[in-house]
């Protein structure tokens, strides 16, 4: 799968049985819908998962195309925070820009968002410590 921002092949990272697509070039992250479902399959219904991402319109930022279906992604608010991420209109997954990821990692979230955050925090611990220096 190619990165929607720089069109280069992304690598896949697996930790605790969850996969994340990662672009080593721009540090963007693709979270596949199926992977999120796996993450929440144990104790959360799909509905709760959808509630984490509310569509929003007040965004001038450039929107990218979904790497799976090539449809233009829509801007989505994550867990009612000021964090805006791209979401595929056909629910294939979510795209986090580099800057967005940094915001995610410093976010304090309620329990339902905790799972997404903790896997991202754990996976990119080195990247974060690099930035702190």
């Amino acid at each position: 799968m190619d990165c929607p921002v720089c069109n280069k092949p992304m690598i896949i990272l697996e930790l605790n049985k969850v996969e994340i697509d990662y672009c080593p070039n721009c540090s963007g992250i693709w979270l596949d819908e199926g992977e999120l479902e796996l993450l929440y399959s144990i104790d959360k219904s799909e509905n709760d998962l959808r509630k984490l991402f509310e569509p929003t319109e007040s965004e001038k930022e450039k929107s990218y195309k979904c790497p799976i279906c090539n449809k233009r992604m829509v801007k989505t608010k994550f867990n009612n925070s000021d964090l805006i991420i791209d979401k595929c209109p056909d629910n294939h997954g979510f795209w986090f820009d580099k800057g967005e990821l940094d915001k995610v990692l410093s976010l304090n979230a309620n329990t339902s968002a905790q799972k997404v955050l903790s896997i991202l925090k754990e996976m990119f611990s080195y990247n974060k410590s690099q930035e702190a220096e």
Binding site: I11, L13, E14, N16, E19, Y22, M123
Partner: protein
């Protein structure tokens, strides 16, 4: 068992020739439509030649084409050990000397099919979605069902019948396009000025009717051939695994999946264990569908409490179907040894982890696509696509630099 194959062949051959007659008739009528004098013969010739060519191609390369169209890739044991083991088990259970090739289709929608002209060079293809959603016992049921198609020689007949369906569909398609661009009008106007106009009008109406109804009729023939075969394969699978609940659960999971199979089309659809082109809320679909209603198949399998022999299946089938209809050939019904279902598999779901099954299935697909796998010492597994052309990969978790060879 041999007679079972024979009687299977006989019944199917009748239907097969019925379909062939339809093909020739359509060729004749379409030909006459364009040229009332010589067109009929040319049309028949055209239809037969088209069928012979496509059949020859599919006899020698059919399974390869079908597998390629479906996006299937051949796998070895180390790509997905469980799948390989299950096929091996079913081969031993069936007592056949040949080992079908195993293919995986990269598609989240769970489904499977068997293909091949001879059992010796047959193939079983399953989607990655199937591997991700089924536990071992359910997978056994599906593989046993496909194995039965191979043993019962269903695959060869279905290939030829599928080609015939394709040719009829192509012909009516070409006919409609020809009409649209006014190809036939020249001849029509000329002959209508003659006295033989009335016969031409009848041919014209018949041609139009056949163009619409031909493909539907051909599908009904195809349906009649394939429908019984699905029940028979279910019966054989229950007998092979001695655990009908496995296949019943698998069918249920496949039917309930919300994913749509991307590579399926009209011709390949009847080959799958569950029709991948299902449309919800369509009652008419039951009439023309190539598969018996899945709820009925599940119900029959779940009612096989006493035994799983062919005789038991026939009995339960008639009970649930409400009328007498031979699904199992007589020779198989004479089988006198009772086959009892396996019991005590109540813990079957415990060792099944849906997350792990999905991971395993996806990894299998990636291995097929030449991905490189790196296990970083911090616990992250890095999977690198073959298009990645950087020499170094940095683990984002611990910062280790991995050199790619």
């Amino acid at each position: 068992m041999w007679e079972l194959i024979q009687s299977n062949r006989r019944k199917s051959l009748i239907l097969f020739f019925g379909m062939g007659a339809l093909l020739i008739f359509i060729g004749y009528v379409f030909g006459s439509f364009y040229d009332p004098e010589a067109g009929g013969a040319i049309g028949v010739l055209f239809a037969i030649i088209l069928w012979v060519i496509l059949s020859t191609v599919s006899y020698f390369a059919g399974s390869k084409i079908i597998l390629a169209v479906s996006g299937a890739k051949e796998v070895t044991k180390d790509v997905h050990p469980q799948l390989y083991n299950v096929v091996e088990e079913m081969k031993i259970a069936a007592g056949v000397p040949y080992f079908p090739k195993i293919y995986i289709i990269d598609d989240p929608s769970p489904n499977a099919f068997a293909t091949g002209v001879k059992p010796e060079n047959s193939a079983i293809a399953v989607t990655s979605g199937l591997l991700a959603t089924l536990n071992r016992y359910e997978l056994q049921g599906v593989v046993a069902h496909e194995m039965s198609h191979i043993i019962n020689r269903d695959i060869l007949l279905m290939t030829f019948a599928g080609v015939m369906l394709g040719v009829i569909t192509i012909m009516s398609d070409v006919f409609f396009r020809g009409m649209y661009f006014g190809g036939g009008s020249r001849y029509r106007s000329r002959s209508s000025s003659k006295s033989s106009g009335q016969g031409q009008v009848i041919i014209m109406i018949l041609a139009m009717l056949l163009a619409v109804l031909g493909p539907i009729l051909a599908q009904l023939f195809y349906f009649a051939i394939s429908r019984k075969r699905e029940y028979l394969a279910d019966a054989s699978a229950a007998r092979l695994t001695r655990y009908p609940e496995g296949l019943a659960n698998a069918l249920e999971k496949i039917a309930n999946s919300s994913h749509k199979l991307r590579s399926a089309n009209k011709v390949t659809a009847p080959m799958y264990i569950v029709n991948p082109l299902k449309r919800e809320g369509m009652k008419l679909a039951d009439l023309t569908s190539t598969h018996p209603p899945i709820s009925e198949r599940i119900k029959i399998l779940r009612s096989l409490q006493q035994g799983v022999s062919y005789k038991d299946y026939q009995k339960v089938f008639e009970m649930i179907h409400g009328k007498k209809e031979k699904i199992i050939p007589d020779s198989a019904l004479k089988e006198s040894i009772p086959v009892a279902p396996v019991s005590g598999l109540a813990n079957e779901g415990i060792d099944f982890n849906p997350v792990e099954a999905k991971r395993e299935a996806n990894d299998a697909v990636m291995k097929l696509n030449d991905y490189k796998f790196i296990n970083c010492k911090c616990g992250v597994k890095i999977k690198i696509p073959p298009e990645y052309n950087n020499q170094i990969v940095v683990c984002p978790r611990c910062g280790t630099k991995h050199q790619l060879s």
